[in-house]
């Protein structure tokens, strides 16, 4: 197809203090096509979307819309340029009626204000064009399922005759039938000439619906491919950054000590699950064992981990910890059982920004002790010295507020907090994200030391080579359920895991 692209980005860069979110990215969208945008954490997908919708201004490079260079200053501007976006959370107002959600901002007006009959009729027409014929548009949006709400959001986007429709993770909360319905609508729009940017991490769906795939990695443009010509394993390889041949030749670095699996497991979970988050799963871990959770974004790794420590409450299943039934209904309960959890979202769930390094380090230990028995200065200093030096926290001043540390050092402070509680089981969720190479090595070394010392470690990372390097066993998750569990042997490589993920059928 040699049609001109409707949207083109040339050498676009967007920089934030300390991080280049987009680094000279080239990108193009052709009309009448479904184009998938793929990449792992930190790849730059959401930044690219925000650049196209006018939320971020570009620092370098240019954006061309229909051949003309344009600066986009805000959502209204992007809408006038013909670009609409529907987010995963369906950014509509559930308390307003369906018709209002579709039409508000473009209502039919008369001398006495809004003419509702005409407005609702136009809304019905817009919905009908997407195949939604029997909706009563005077009913509140909240009465609809999320899937249909999403279609309403798309209708709203189409009211303004958008030429570009961006769908950001549209299928995360949909079941199979709803996905098919959505895909039907997408195909209709595509056939009408709309350019559709489909951002998703569900490989199978991407292969089903898209014609073209662009892969981003670490803010850089990796490549644009025709879906039909791109092998799944090649796609994953492009996303996580290793050449296929290099993948196949990486040997897992193994520590020689084998975890003792003849004893009873430290933690045994049976049919542990939570509706909407993770399907009922069995899981076992032994003293000193390192179990890795591998899977792509959205596969349910974090969800399972949070059930194992009490951060979320399970709907089903039981947990037996050190031989006794454990009710893990709060993080405090988890910590009481000496299960520590380091969240992947260190900004919102990890660091207490205005407290000092010292206070952040001792927080969990102090919480366990209770408010009355404050840690003595000596005990605090011990913790501070151990982990500031041991983890290499910089600056090494414990009285600095954590908000002033770089992301990597904040992560180290968090790790120190959990290690200070001397856990029997430690769950690390993306502990090396956003950290420089040197720090990554330090943390991985710390994990090895921990397991040597008898701590059971659950290690979650999007960097599959890390997981392979550190783990004794790997639990592989896909689409919110466990699809496989393997022992890591001398032949296990990243490619092994990638193959399993790519090969496992959709749930």
């Amino acid at each position: 197809m040699t049609t001109a692209p409707i949207v083109e980005m040339r050498g676009v860069s967007i920089t934030f203090p300390g991080v280049k979110a987009l680094d000279e990215v080239d990108f193009r969208l052709l009309p009448g096509e479904v184009h998938a945008l793929m990449g792992e954490n930190g790849a730059g997908k959401s930044t690219l979307i925000k650049a196209l919708t006018g939320v971020y201004a570009v620092d370098a490079g240019e954006i061309l819309i229909d051949g003309e260079q344009r600066g986009l200053h805000g959502t209204a501007d992007a809408q006038t340029a013909g670009i609409s976006v529907v987010y995963q959370e369906v950014n509509l107002c559930p308390n307003l009626t369906i018709g209002e959600n579709v039409m508000l901002g473009h209502e039919v007006r008369g001398p006495f204000g809004i003419r509702w009959k005409a407005t609702h009729r136009r809304a019905e027409q817009a919905l009908a064009r997407l195949g939604l014929h029997d909706l009563d548009t005077r009913v509140p949006l909240a009465s609809l399922s999320l899937a249909v709400q999403q279609l309403v959001a798309i209708s709203r986007a189409m009211i303004t005759d958008s030429t570009v429709l961006i769908l950001d993770e549209p299928t995360s909360s949909l079941d199979a039938t709803e996905v098919e319905q959505l895909f039907g609508v997408i195909r209709q729009l595509r056939d009408r000439g709309v350019a559709i940017l489909f951002v998703s991490h569900f490989l199978d769906q991407v292969y089903e619906i898209s014609e073209r795939i662009t892969v981003l990695r670490n803010g850089r443009f990796v490549g644009e491919f025709l879906t039909a010509e791109l092998d799944r394993t090649d796609l994953i390889a492009n996303m996580i950054g290793k050449e296929l041949s290099v993948l196949r030749s990486i040997d897992a670095v193994r520590h020689q000590r084998r975890a003792d699996r003849t004893d009873a497991p430290v933690l045994a979970a049976s049919a542990l699950g939570r509706k909407g988050a993770i399907a009922p799963t069995d899981f076992e871990i032994h003293t000193g064992e390192v179990i890795g959770f591998a899977g792509l974004l959205g596969s349910g790794r974090t969800e399972l981990a949070r059930l194992l420590c009490g951060a979320d409450k399970a709907d089903s299943g039981t947990v037996v910890f050190q031989g006794r039934k454990a009710v893990l209904n709060s993080p405090a309960a988890g910590l009481a059982h000496r299960i520590a959890y380091s969240s992947e979202n260190r900004r919102d769930e990890g660091v207490v920004a205005d407290l000092t390094v010292r206070e952040n380090l001792v927080l969990a230990v102090q919480a366990r002790r209770g408010w009355m028995r404050r840690l003595s200065r000596r005990e605090e200093n011990e913790i501070v010295d151990t982990y500031v030096t041991g983890l290499g926290i910089r600056p090494a001043d414990p009285e600095v507020r954590v908000r002033n540390l770089s992301g990597g050092n904040q992560q180290k402070v968090l790790l120190g907090r959990w290690l200070a509680t001397r856990p029997d089981m430690l769950i690390l969720d993306e502990p090396t994200r956003g950290i420089d190479v040197g720090a990554k090595a330090e943390i991985q070394a710390a994990v090895v030391a921990l397991s040597d010392g008898g701590v059971a470690v659950v290690y979650i990372s999007s960097e599959i080579d890390e997981v392979v390097r550190l783990s004794d066993r790997i639990v592989i998750l896909k689409d919110r359920r466990k699809v496989d569990e393997i022992d890591v042997g001398p032949d296990t490589t990243t490619a092994t895991i990638v193959d399993i993920i790519a090969g496992a059928g959709a749930a």
Partner: protein, 359 residues
């Protein structure tokens, strides 16, 4: 169309055939039915509940004390609560966006004291009324700007404006400022006999009541027929969504505070005309009465749901409550504060419980 209560994904459900397949043009109307009406007007249930409460109180009062359902009582109810109705309408706009305005009572005090002093100084009475109203708008504008531009929480911003306005009123005067009985402003309290009953039992209204009716009508128009009105609901439902939908969120949020201040001042005009004087202690606690009226009427304090009609009913519920308490004579006057507080509290709890179940 599938109806679900929760918005969470519940995993695989039994598949329903996707809506569609009908080739016919969609019709504008749908066969009427009770279910359809209730589904369309979720707000109606809470307004209906408020109406029920009011009717129940009327019945109770009629049975227990008698002389409720008669023209003179109705007249007094209308006349004495006209200002509260106006206040409640203004406050409804603010609460619908999820905010609050604690300054309305103080606005009344300041604007009416200033107005009375100007009137006494001989200023044109029509101009005086205009100035009174504009004072309310100005105070509302400041509140709105504090909330919107400086990220001040609405309650602390309007609490501060409350103290500021009341303090300004106290600076102007601490004694009752009388209104010249010949002043045209007094006309607003002039009683028009609508129905001449026996003896003094007449149905009487004043221009003040008419003004309240106009305000209510205006409020209804604004809420149901303007983009502004729908944006108010949108902001209360989900401000980030409203923003992403391209609606004028910032402007709307400031405007609701201006409306609240303006209507408070208008309520002050009506009240002052009736009373014939204004003082710096006027209106103390009225913000709470207004909030209670709005809450009783079914508007959620968290915003996004509620109705003007409900607030009007709520104002009359409070007014009727006062009547019943006076008739009873056995309930000590100091109990009224507890009762208002208690009612407000019960309704807030109810709102929380219902929200918890829905949510």
């Amino acid at each position: 169309m599938r109806t679900t209560e929760t918005l969470e994904s519940t995993g695989p459900v039994e598949p329903t055939p996707p809506p569609g397949g009908s080739a016919a043009e969609p019709t504008g109307g749908h066969p009427p039915s009770i279910n359809r009406y209730l589904a369309r007007h979720r707000d109606a249930t809470s307004t209906g509940a408020a109406l029920l409460i009011f009717v129940a109180m009327v019945i109770y009062g009629q049975i227990t004390y008698g002389a409720i359902l008669q023209p003179s009582t109705i007249s007094n109810l209308l006349i004495n609560n006209a200002h509260l109705v106006i206040l409640a309408v203004g406050l409804t706009f603010v609460i619908l966006t999820g905010g609050i305005d604690l300054s309305v009572g103080a606005v009344i005090a300041f604007s009416s004291v200033a107005g009375m002093m100007l009137a006494q100084a001989g200023w044109n009475p029509y101009l005086v009324v205009l100035i009174m109203v504009l004072i309310g708008s100005a105070i509302g504008l400041v509140s709105g700007c504090l909330v919107e531009f400086f990220d001040m929480q609405p309650f602390i911003a309007t609490l501060s404006m409350m103290f500021l306005a009341r303090g300004l009123a106290s600076t102007l005067s601490t004694v009752p400022e009388r209104l010249d009985p010949d002043s045209p402003i007094k006309e607003l309290a002039h009683q028009w006999k609508l129905i001449d009953g026996d003896k003094v039992n007449d149905l009487v209204v004043t221009p003040g009541v008419v003004i309240a009716a106009i305000v209510v009508t205006g409020g209804l128009l604004a809420v149901h027929r303007t983009r502004f009105g729908r944006t108010v609901y949108a902001v209360g439902g989900s401000e980030p969504s409203a923003s992403l939908m391209g609606l004028p969120v910032r402007r709307t949020k400031i405007l609701v505070y201006v409306i609240s201040g303006t209507l408070a001042a208008i309520g002050g005009v009506v009240y002052t005309a009736r009373l014939g004087s204004a003082q710096n202690i006027t209106g103390i606690g009225w913000e709470l009465d207004a909030i209670a009226a709005v809450v009783i009427g079914g508007t959620l304090l968290t915003g996004g749901s509620g109705s003007i009609v409900g607030s009007v009913i709520g104002a009359f519920v409070l007014g009727l409550m006062n009547v019943l308490i006076t008739r009873d004579g056995g309930i000590r006057p100091e109990m009224t504060t507890i009762i208002t507080g208690g009612i407000l509290f019960v309704f807030v709890l109810l709102q929380r419980a219902i929200k918890g179940r829905r949510g």
